[in-house]
């Protein structure tokens, strides 16, 4: 019996502002406890929240990037709950009228492409942190994070496997960092996902969902969803009913478990916050934000395909981050667009391998795009064989020599394409390998390759292999 899986994701992205969403306290990560929690954040009586303009700009940027509607007027609401990590007794969020409505993201799982619809995205404040270490049986509260601006991004239940959920989360992560609204640091909690998971028989109405909270890595997202799907299927197949619940994923056991929460924990009694007036976003403001938007990953991928003749795969790989894309594009600009594919191979190959191996930031590597371009041009014009190019690349990477030409000159790495220089080598090799020559004439193609190998060796790898092939064939048939 088959099962259908239905998944929706809610993602909290911490917005890259300097100050909090409703106060002028700093949001810098890693401060001593409560040093960045002002009177508004700790909810002293008589304080008033004042909305941070930059947080709204981030929401507008996001709305534009996903093709959503940006609400001309949206409302802040109080979400009531009692927890010491938000001492007001409520979280300021948006409920009925969020700032961003609809839109969506295209994801790729293997060859398969899918459009994931977004329901909404709304602005809200983050809570503080509770520390449960031993404080004589008490809980320690750090309110530095309280009031940090968040954009909560909610999808429709459009995904039907953990692979799709991860592909969506990665696409979203890439987008929010690309447009500069979130630093995407998952370890510090800047980007965290909640997954709503349910299963049903094909064609049946939606099953009861359980929500897995606070997944802060793509791997945990995948593991938690896979475990949860199997758990729900087992429950139903054994005749039990799924109860709606909030669950936590334990990375140590790889299991999800229900949070001990009261039945009425979800009764948030939202109502419009009387401390905040409606947020108005005029078309002129949207136009101003739009003018400052970078080219988006999808548009860039299409441009790489049409302008440089790259494959969809290469384009997607190069447009994975803004820095990689701009490194690539600067290389092509210096090398000429006729060499675009060759540049792509080097950026995706040797450059990426070293950047990943050493955990470097591609925008800051010493091998600047023009240097790589200079080397690529020498490969393209036949000066360098691909083997010698690797040696030049290594030298450039290590900062030896001012550019590719200087290294080629200094080390005598120039590929020999001059027939008058190659022919004597061929004659030499032929004279010394009469047996192979006879074998070739007797119809053994392998013997030909053996001769090419000998000639390449005699040239210390510098002879142009294509040229060697042509000349040798001519000589043997002559």
């Amino acid at each position: 019996m088959t099962w259908e899986v239905v998944i929706g994701l809610e993602t909290h992205a911490q917005l890259q502002t300097k100050s909090k969403i409703f106060s002028g306290a700093s949001v810098a990560f890693g401060a001593e406890p409560n040093r960045q929690a002002c009177a508004v954040d700790i909810a002293l009586p008589g304080v008033l929240p004042v909305l941070n303009r930059e947080a709204v700009v981030c929401a507008i940027r996001f709305g534009l990037a996903v093709g959503a509607e940006i609400a001309p007027r949206s409302i802040f609401a109080r979400k009531n709950y009692f927890y010491p990590d938000l001492p007001k007794g409520y979280q300021i969020s948006q409920f009925e009228t969020p700032v961003v409505l609809g839109g969506g993201l295209t994801i790729h799982v293997g060859e398969h492409e899918k459009f994931v619809h977004l329901t909404r995205a709304h602005l809200e404040e983050d809570a503080g942190k509770s520390l449960h270490e031993d404080f004589h049986g008490k809980t320690g509260i750090d309110l530095n994070r309280a009031g940090t601006p968040l954009l909560e991004i909610v999808t429709e239940p459009d995904m039907c496997s953990s692979a799709e959920a991860v592909a969506y989360a990665k696409a979203l992560h890439s987008l929010v960092t690309w447009i500069g609204i979130c630093d995407g640091n998952m370890q510090e909690g800047s980007f965290r996902c909640d997954a709503n998971v349910s299963v049903r028989r094909p064609g049946a109405p939606l099953g009861t969902r359980r929500e897995i909270k606070n997944l802060n890595s793509f791997r945990f997202l995948q593991q938690a969803i896979d475990y949860e799907i199997q758990w729900q299927i087992n429950e139903i197949e054994e005749g039990r009913k799924i109860q709606q619940a909030t669950v936590l994923f334990d990375p140590d056991t790889g299991e999800t478990r229900s949070m001990r929460s009261k039945e009425d924990a979800h009764d948030y009694r939202y109502f419009p916050d009387p401390d905040l007036l409606p947020l108005e976003i005029r078309p002129e403001w949207i136009a101003e934000v739009k003018a400052g938007m970078p080219e988006l990953p999808q548009a860039l991928q299409h441009r790489f395909q049409s302008a440089y003749g790259l494959s969809a795969y290469d384009s997607a790989t190069l447009a994975a981050t803004r820095d990689t894309a701009s490194y690539y594009e600067n290389t092509v600009l210096a090398a000429g667009s006729a060499n675009a594919k060759l540049c792509a191979n080097w950026v995706m190959g040797e450059v990426s391998a070293r950047v990943n191996r050493d955990g470097l930031d591609i925008a800051a590597i010493p091998l600047a795009p023009p240097l790589l371009a200079g080397m690529v041009q020498r490969v393209a014009d036949g000066t360098l064989s691909s083997k010698l190019a690797k040696e030049v690349f290594e030298a450039l990477w290590n900062g030896e020599g001012k550019d590719a030409d200087a290294i080629i000159e200094a080390r005598g790495l120039k590929q020999v394409s001059d027939a008058s220089a190659i022919e004597p080598l061929i004659d030499e090799v032929l004279a010394a390998n009469q047996k192979s020559v006879e074998e070739f004439r007797a119809g053994k193609d392998k013997a030909f390759n053996a001769l090419v190998g000998q000639i390449m060796k005699a040239s210390k790898g510098k002879a142009n292999p294509q040229q060697v092939n042509d000349l040798l064939r001519k000589k043997l048939s002559g």
Partner: protein, 95 residues
Amino acid sequence: MSLSLDDVSRIARLARIEISPAEAERTRDQLNGILSFVEQLQAVNTDGIAPLAHAVDVVQRLRPDAVTESDHRAAFQAIAPETEAGLYLVPKVIE
């Protein structure tokens, strides 16, 4: 619409207010009185009228994104019941 005693005790629990059975009965009657006013309001035809989020017809003023607050932890924690290592201590919170 009218509230039962159960509704009242649930609302009290959500608001973390402890009420005696006698108070619950009095509160129920008062809340039901308020709800009957609301019922009169609900009788008004509001077709085509946008919901009102705020009594004043002005929009939110925005603040430039700048850090304007300095550290007053010592002053704030001087009036807190209990602190340690810069943290506010509260009765154990269990999830």
